[in-house]
Symmetry: C2
Subunit: 271 residues, 2 copies
């Protein structure tokens, strides 16, 4: 049965986002989505009660580089047709995290049983999209070639606050030789809805990063002597801000288990 | 008489490139063109005999970042109508330099008497155009605010050679805080015909610059501790390459005494 199901999933192919969502929906896919449905946009998920959702949307609007909204639901409605015709946000991610007053209380693969009429789902752009563009251009990404998580750091840059949502900008770091760093600025500038251009380059201490070798999230990845660290606004920012605000109830994706959408990464290019 | 002439020049206004060229043509303007005809493209000049011109054009084609050709003449014809309807390349620059086998032999304000039927004029894009775009965006340029020449360095990067023309890439340096450096990459990427995006950022030693405080041309300009040096391919590259090749005969603009064209800087923007 498991073999037959896996076969169906393989047959549909990793290039098909609908097959990936259906595999998550059916419980055949419960882990990471990196590398699945290549070419298609994957998104971070944040689900909040309606009252908090208004403040959260304002937070995202004020902080578009870390919090680029690529889709959101009507209150209580689990569909987001702009991201996928048959998409059901309650079932179509491989795994969720359920939070109560800032405490992680469950990691289910389906949230239909806890869905509420007042919940609003936000889908935020993710660095997978621009990393694909960087790789397609031939730029090396060491965390990927070393099979590590991208290193992520809290900075001394404050986000613009909105209601209970406030906190530091969190950034991801990728290191490049200088000419490649310039190319990476050009490439990611084309993708404003998935964090866009870097926010910082070189000089980690200037944004409050004291030790580049000790990230706050993800793995430590070497910056070689002939490279510069390049920092992008990161989708961990809204997750950290939501956790710090200790909302009555919230649901997010589990780390790496993203929403796979029907949007093509190339369609996010502004130019 | 000088006062009357100056008045006529002022009356025409610095916004009019034709007035600037006529002032150079009439001998009223014999110095720098920086800040004149604001908004209009200024160009570096290189004039070579036809035989060398073929190799030089190939050199420019192979090295478009330091040598962006924005106009060239027919052999022996001093007009370049694409850059200005009544433009006469023999009279319309404030001052020229005449070279014989690599030796500077004269700095006239008019080259009609030494013009030849086999001479080909090349006009190459210059950093004035992208500096205007940087300043218009609010980015500080310290060499300008300090009234210094931009610092220029020979690098360890070899240009692609063509015939007798070979030599190192020469770069200009402007320093920025990291976020401004990223913005400068975005802005100058829009202007490929005036050197385009930087070729290097940070780590001067990686391109053979041993002491950032000792430029090979121009003035030393401070790089503050919270800044990165950003390096652009520079129009000194073809000048240095021509000088090193010791051509039988060549004419260039005198430093800072550029050709002012009718093209608008904004029209050079690729996007």
């Amino acid at each position: 049965m498991a073999v037959a199901a896996m076969k169906a999933f393989d047959a549909a192919g990793p290039a098909d986002p609908v097959a990936v969502r259906h595999a998550a929906r059916d419980g055949r896919l419960t882990g990471q989505t990196a590398g699945l449905a290549r070419g298609h946009v994957q998104g971070n998920l944040a689900i909040l009660p309606r009252d908090l959702a208004a403040d959260f949307l304002r937070f995202c609007t004020l902080n578009p580089k870390p919090c680029p909204v690529i889709g959101m639901s009507e209150p209580g409605n689990p569909a987001i047709p702009a991201l996928g015709a048959d998409l059901d946000i309650r079932t179509d991610l491989p795994r969720y995290r359920v939070w109560r007053r800032g405490e992680l209380i469950d990691e289910p693969t389906d949230i239909r049983s806890i869905w509420r009429d007042d919940l609003v789902a936000f889908v935020l752009g993710c660095s997978f999209s621009f990393e694909e563009a960087l790789l397609d251009d031939g730029l090396p990404l060491r965390h990927i070639s070393c099979n590590l998580g991208v290193p992520v750091y809290r900075t001394s840059i404050a986000c613009a606050p909105a209601g209970p949502f406030a906190g530091p900008l969190v950034v991801s770091m990728r290191s490049f030789k200088p000419a490649d760093a310039i190319r990476a600025v050009q490439i990611t500038s084309r993708f404003p809805s998935v964090h866009g251009a870097p926010v910082h380059i070189g000089l980690p201490e200037a944004i409050g990063i004291r030790d580049i070798g000790r990230p706050d999230y993800g793995d430590a990845v070497e910056v070689k002597a002939d490279e510069l660290p390049v920092f992008w606004a990161c989708g961990v920012t809204p997750q950290a801000v939501i956790a710090a605000s200790r909302p009555e109830f919230a649901i997010t994706h589990a780390p790496g288990a993203m929403l796979v959408t029907d949007l093509r990464n190339s369609r996010l290019a502004a130019l």
